[in-house]
């Protein structure tokens, strides 16, 4: 393979190589944009130039075959230029509005939908799951596919929403994504303490690092069969899996007790309200591949009730803040349990320190 000239520290290619001419010309000089229809928008430059974007949903996991198909479409309609978005959609960049419809037809023929702009639901930011990661409490791609099949009308625009609604998925508490700040977040959770392989532990792991990895101090040094190892105080473990991350001998994956939780009301933008974390709605739902029907139902329920009740421009969390969490639980029918009450470090900061409460008329 010495035919290739190996280089290091060259960094990524310069982005200018990939910018369409219209972008180069109007760089930093865009005047405004319009959403023409779901998945299609135009950006108008001060110069009067018009750049059309067609946004296409993908499963994120893409075969090179598919990428080549996209490249071909870009050649056919966009002079070879395209981009991906921060939520794993493909954007075809056109200058000729007449090409929009043919492009959409071709894209859809390949099986990829157009949509996800404006107040449509965009692709679900997600992680590796059983496709690649060792610590996943559930699969990522499968849950995402199942949920998006159900939410499809919200992506294509045949159903509409009061505001943006961002769904995210992470397969374990490491949260490789923005799950902690999403309108709706689905999170894989372990719910039993790790099982230690005392024979592997001494050779695989450093015990002090392992002990330090536990947020709640549940791991203590112990001698097992005459060898140094650790033991886990099960009552103190909240199944975060951090010990498994640093030490493979602390296996936390468990087919019976792994599952999914649902969170709502997070956001990232600074628009109107400040960025917010997602809050717990459903602490646990069983892992039910290949279609995770309980999870899909729960997500759809939340979306439907939000769509029917929120006001224009109101993100999920903004809506809930306006009506109050008690009403949210009542409307959605999810049970409020002790698990919903924070009991970690700053828990007390979440207790309701006011007599400002909504009440319902008694009978």
């Amino acid at each position: 393979m010495t035919e290739f000239q190996r280089q290091t520290d060259i960094g990524p290619p310069h982005y200018e190589r990939f910018l369409p001419p219209i972008v180069k010309k109007n760089y930093g000089a865009w005047d405004h944009h319009e959403l023409l229809r779901p998945g299609v928008m135009v950006h108008v430059a001060a110069s009067g130039d018009r750049l059309y974007t067609v946004r296409v949903g993908t499963p994120r996991l893409l075969a090179v075959t598919t990428i080549r198909q996209f490249a071909d479409l870009a050649d056919a309609y966009c002079d070879g230029y395209l981009r991906w978005t921060s939520r794993n959609n493909v954007e075809f960049l056109l200058t000729d509005p007449a090409k929009i419809d043919p492009l959409i037809r071709d894209v859809q023929a390949l099986g990829y939908p157009v949509g996800g702009t404006g107040n449509q639901i965009s692709s679900i930011v997600h992680t590796q799951g059983w496709v690649h990661c060792h610590s996943s409490a559930s699969d990522a791609s499968g849950v995402v596919k199942s949920v998006m099949d159900r939410l499809f009308p919200y992506f294509t625009g045949s159903k509409s929403l009061p505001s943006k609604l961002r769904v995210a998925y992470a397969c374990c508490l490491n949260m490789c994504g923005a799950v902690h700040c999403s309108d709706i977040a689905i999170l894989g959770v372990h719910t039993k303490a790790p099982v230690i392989s005392h024979s592997d532990l001494p050779k695989m792991c450093e015990i002090p690092t392992l002990i330090a990895s536990c947020p709640t101090g549940a791991i203590r040094p112990a001698t097992v069969n005459g060898k140094p190892s650790v033991e886990i105080e099960a009552g103190q473990c909240m199944y975060c899996g951090n010990c498994y991350t640093v030490c493979p001998a602390c296996r936390i994956n468990n087919p019976e007790s792994d599952g999914l939780s649902i969170w709502v009301g997070g956001k990232v933008s600074n628009a109107r309200t400040t960025p917010q974390f997602s809050k717990l709605v459903v602490p646990f739902m069983p892992n039910n591949p290949p279609r995770w029907p309980e999870v899909v139902d729960a997500v759809e329920r939340i979306v439907t009730i939000y769509a029917g009740n929120a006001r224009k421009h109101e993100r999920m969390g903004e809506w809930i803040n306006r009506i109050g969490w008690p009403r949210f639980f009542k409307l959605t029918g999810f049970e409020f349990t002790k698990y919903h009450i924070d009991d970690f470090r700053h828990a007390g900061e979440t207790y309701n320190r006011t007599a400002q409460l909504r009440h319902e008329r008694g009978s």
Partner: protein, 397 residues
């Protein structure tokens, strides 16, 4: 009687329009205790440091609280205040008095102590400032003979207090005076004989205006509220508007949930989204009134900063009818005291205890179901201690 003291620094504080505590002390300074108090206080002003030492255990027979012991570190120089303990005399509900009752108290205190008081202490008691150890018993005997008892100090229930409530306020959502009196009487043993991990305070406020600052400084805050709709007299709203109140900006725009609207003729309230904050009622006092289904929200755990930082009380029971004999509140209190009494650490207030064990576990312990009103929002971190019986319970409804 005693020769005049030179108190140049304190004398400065007799200048100015606000009534002076120095003048008050001087009013009694013909007797030794107040006289020496002036002396030691002048010394503190010069030295910029307190000349009082810790109290030690002083009190009246059979009680573990009600007296705060105090000794000076200059006993030779100021012998009359060598011992300078305070009595905490349990005030009547809402601090109503007759002139006769006050005179009786003054007579007793002039006879046995310095003749100086705090009307009142921060917890609510009548504070008799400065008694010798020897005078404690006789003073208490005379007080109790006249129907007065001591309040709390130490690790016990502290003297409950309440706002003026139905006695003079149109907004009282329950009878604060009666509730305060009833709870004080029901828990006399807990008030007088310390056996808790630490102090436990009750404060009763008739509505969310909270005129006794209950949410900031009582382990149990009982704050009046209502369940049905705000009572509105539209004609009177109109009168306010005509006489210069800007209903939109002064009322609607300041409503925390913006659940009101005003079209210049009618004030519409979405009561389902009203959080009973009182603002609109405060501003439009003649036109608006709390609803008719009244009761109180029970909140727990407020306290001063030490050790873990100050706490405000947080919601435990969103709505409780506050009807005598207040069995619900008493049962709840008993359950809290039992749990905290058994598991609370020494000098751990109930608010700190809840933070340590977690509100969820606390609820389990006192047998109360969790409701979303208890929190500002559900948890944001995924560190859930699932219990073994995990399944339907925690799942989807």
């Amino acid at each position: 009687m005693t020769k005049e003291r030179k108190t140049p620094l304190l004398d400065e504080l007799e200048q100015g329009p606000w009534p002076s505590f120095v003048t008050e002390i001087k009013k009694e300074a013909d007797r030794p205790m107040a006289h020496d108090l002036l002396g030691i206080l002048e010394r503190s002003y010069a030295d910029r440091v307190s000349h009082w030492k810790h109290g030690g255990l002083v009190g009246v027979m059979g009680y573990g609280g009600g007296v705060i012991g105090r000794y000076s570190d200059l006993p030779e120089e100021f012998p009359a205040v060598k011992e300078f303990h305070t009595f905490r005399v349990n005030q009547p509900s809402a601090w109503f008095y007759t002139s006769d009752a006050l005179r009786t108290l003054c007579d007793i205190w002039e006879k046995h102590g310095s003749g100086l008081t705090n009307m009142h202490g921060s917890t609510g008691d009548i504070i008799f400032l400065g008694s010798s150890s020897a005078a404690l018993e006789p003073c208490f005997a005379e007080l109790s003979h006249h129907g007065w008892d001591l309040g709390g100090s130490g690790s016990n229930m502290r003297t409950p207090s309440c706002c003026v409530g139905p006695a003079r306020c149109e907004w009282a959502c329950y009878d604060t005076l009666a509730a305060c009196y009833d709870i004080t009487q029901a828990f006399q043993d807990e008030l007088h004989r310390p056996f808790f991990p630490y102090k436990y305070k009750f404060k009763f406020a008739g509505c969310p205006n909270d005129c006794v600052a209950s949410i900031a400084r009582s382990d149990c805050s009982i704050i009046g509220t209502w369940r049905d709709d705000i009572q509105v007299d539209q004609a009177k709203v109109g009168e306010y508007a005509r006489s210069g109140t800007d209903i939109q900006s002064e009322v609607c725009n300041l409503c925390p949930t913006r659940c009101m609207s005003w079209d210049g003729r009618e004030l519409a309230i979405d009561n389902s989204n009203c959080v009973r904050c009182m603002h609109c009622i405060n501003v439009l006092a003649k036109a608006l009134k709390p609803g008719k289904q009244r009761g109180a929200t029970i909140l727990v755990g407020s306290k001063a900063p030490i050790i873990g930082g100050a706490l405000l009380s947080s919601v435990l029971v969103p709505f409780l009818e506050m009807k005598p004999p207040y069995d619900d509140l008493k049962e709840l209190t008993a359950a809290i005291w039992e749990l905290w009494g058994e598991h609370g650490k020494n000098r751990e207030r109930v608010g700190e205890f809840i933070q340590r064990v977690g509100l969820g576990n606390f609820l389990d312990g006192i047998g109360l179901d969790p409701v979303p009103e208890m929190v500002m929002h559900p948890r944001t971190n995924p560190y859930i201690f699932f219990e073994d019986e995990l399944d339907d319970d925690a799942g989807n409804a």
